[in-house]
Symmetry: C2
Subunit: 164 residues, 2 copies
């Protein structure tokens, strides 16, 4: 190909692939981009809330998982992302004494960046709702209000689970 | 370095690093080697058992996670490893309606290999106990006995959690 044609082909390629990427990822929540790949993140903890009958797994990106394992969570380092995946609870058909995930509710995230998110206590607060991952956009203040009981521990409820 | 010296240095490096790797890994359980790296595996499900007050996260290696996401679990494919990480439950200090991981109990695994483990229903059953990861060696029959209620679903309790 002659150079102008090659350049045109390249630009077309960039436009198309960028468009696909944008098309696949859910829209941002509170301006925070969707954290692609979170389903492959490692586990930091789990929880079972009996006030709203939900089961949760708390995941972390590499920065968060390394910080959790090193006990370096006061404060969590910039770049850490904590993810909380939430399901309604239900009983396991073959072992009724076990409560397990039922309907998927949402996945919510805290993005640590002490400068970028200085106005929201050093965290970007985001949530994507339902299997369709609809961005939550009612404002970070909604998230922060619920986390107020843990304002003295960096606004994080999660205590990393003990692991060998 | 001259070639023989270089070769010697390389061999020494191999011996030392292999020795370290072997020294770090816990001994096999029921002849099944320790699945290094399981703490970085992705989540398949979670559960809360109120008969013995334990919280669990069910992890999978890449083969198992791909099978779970594709609904390809009847039977699980050879090469799949399911891991169940178990903690005694406790209440979260800052949100008493949340039950969270307390003391680490053990990590137990099912290794799918329909030929190698034909005598134990197509699974290698293994467990490592406590933070010291002491290999459980009371026999796979102990594990199988407890899984008998799910003999008709490939001996697996876990139902992969719904995910976007």
């Amino acid at each position: 190909m002659k150079t102008p044609v090659r350049l045109l082909a390249f630009l077309l390629f960039v436009i198309v692939t960028e468009g696909q990427a944008a098309g696949n990822a859910p829209a941002p929540s509170h301006g925070v981009p969707y954290p692609e790949g979170w389903k492959d993140w490692a586990t930091i903890a789990v929880s079972h809330r009996n006030d709203n009958n939900t089961l949760r797994v708390i995941l972390g990106n590499d920065v968060a998982v390394q910080a959790a394992r090193a006990g370096n969570t006061n404060p969590w380092p910039d770049g850490a992302i904590l993810g909380k995946v939430v399901w309604k609870d239900t009983l396991l058909e073959n072992w009724k004494a076990a409560t397990v995930p039922g309907e998927f509710v949402h996945a919510e995230f805290m993005f640590r960046d002490s400068k970028k998110y200085a106005d929201s206590h050093g965290w970007g607060w985001a949530r994507w709702v339902g299997l369709e991952q609809k961005p939550f956009d009612e404002g970070m203040a909604v998230c922060i209000a619920c986390h107020t009981p843990v304002r003295n521990r960096g606004w994080v409820f999660t205590e990393p689970a003990s692991l060998p």
